[in-house]
């Protein structure tokens, strides 16, 4: 019976991964609701759990591909592989519109570009301080500091190692979780109480889950303004980081 079950799982790898990720999502949203009262968004907990099972997989197999190194979970490698990942990321552009960005005004657009640049440069500086010297690793960690999507998209486009890509996801995740949790506490000190500052906030932080979660806990009326600029942030990062920023990095770090 056990053999039959294993062979069903092996023959239906991708389908099994849908079921497995579904369970992880359910547990994550449950924890988000019960343990953090929705303050830490379910999506962030799900990614933490994802990294955690990758860690378990890595320890058990000694391999480099996390959970997907365990035979029956190979389907995770298809679901979370480069093909479906890029496909799903491109789909998030559906719903964004350039008429919307006009509403954000000059301040919103400046904050959007500055947000991507500042985050990237900051990530690169920290990576340098930790002894990374090659353009590929530096760019990938800098990209992860932009968001946990820009990190892996950049990393796989320019050929970074899985270890560095995992770091870039983790950096983006820390950014997202801290934005969700700390925004309500610092809001009054940074003047985050009007639509204009919410637009700027969304453009600077850019992590959609962090921005919407943080603003919802601060003042739900501000959420659409922050989301307006944050929606464009990851797209802008995916456009600029693996191209322009990578070339600048290559010029400085051979």
């Amino acid at each position: 019976m056990m053999d039959t079950l294993v062979s069903v799982f092996k023959n239906n790898g991708l389908v099994l991964s849908f079921a497995l990720i579904g369970v992880i999502m359910y547990v994550s949203y449950f924890l988000s609701d019960k343990l953090t009262r929705g303050r830490v968004h379910g999506s962030a907990i799900a990614i933490i759990l994802g990294l955690f099972v990758a860690y378990l997989g890595g320890i058990n197999t000694g391999g480099e591909k996390g959970l997907s190194d365990i035979g029956i979970f190979a389907g995770i490698g298809i679901m979370g592989g480069g093909m479906l990942r890029d496909f799903a990321i491109v789909s998030t552009a559906f719903g964004a519109s350039f008429d919307e960005i006009k509403k954000a005004g000059v301040g919103g657009v400046i904050s959007l570009f500055l947000g991507v640049i500042v985050s990237f440069v900051f990530g690169v500086i920290i990576a340098l301080a930790f002894g990374y010297t090659d353009a590929v690793s530096l760019t990938t960690i800098g990209a992860g500091t932009v968001t946990y999507i820009v990190g892996p998209v950049t990393g796989s486009a320019i050929g970074a190692s899985s270890e560095v890509i995992a770091l870039s996801i983790a950096a983006g995740l820390v950014k997202s979780v801290l934005t969700m949790t700390f925004t309500p506490f610092v809001a009054k000190y940074i003047g985050l109480n009007n639509p204009q500052s919410a637009l700027v906030f969304g453009g600077l932080l850019g992590t959609t889950s962090g921005v919407t979660g943080g603003l919802a806990a601060t003042d739900p009326k501000l959420v659409p303004y922050g989301a307006l600029t944050a929606t464009f942030y990851t797209g802008l990062g995916c456009l600029l980081v693996p191209s322009l920023f990578f070339f600048v990095m290559k010029a400085f770090f051979a």
Partner: protein
């Protein structure tokens, strides 16, 4: 039909990947240069154009919506197959980069909000701006 939305998305992704790879070859680097970003840009422009002509049917939208709602689950699957064991050794870099960038960005919010507000207040004195209906 739902497949129209999925196909549109597929075409944008493929064109983006192709443009990214070609750029990589032209620029002499072995990488995909901004392909995902190009795909996103293309999708936004096409969806905008279709919406304005009223050609984006509900079923087509459903095809696009399905995949954009699969985005986080796919990111979770992606996370589940990374080399986290090796990354844990370099863990502090992720923590410090992630935490530091939040602090820096928070500090920039009041500074940039002022730029925006100046812009807004000058706009408001122009009569055309006042006449525009509130959306």
């Amino acid at each position: 039909m739902v497949i129209y939305g999925v196909a549109l998305l597929a075409i944008c992704t493929l064109v983006g990947a192709f443009v990214g790879d070609m750029l990589g070859i032209v620029l002499g680097v072995e990488s995909n240069v901004g392909g995902v970003g190009v795909g996103m840009l293309m999708l936004v422009l096409i969806v905008d154009a279709l919406k304005k002509r009223g050609r984006l049917e509900l079923k087509t939208r459903e095809g696009l919506n399905f995949w954009s709602s699969m985005y986080i689950p796919i990111v979770v699957a992606m996370s589940a197959q990374q080399n986290v064991v090796a990354a844990v050794k370099g863990g502090p870099v992720a923590l410090i980069a992630g935490a530091g960038v939040v602090a820096v960005s928070f500090l920039l919010v009041p500074i940039l909000s002022k730029i925006g507000q100046k812009q807004r207040s000058t706009e408001q004195v122009t009569p055309e701006y006042r006449e525009e209906p509130v959306r």
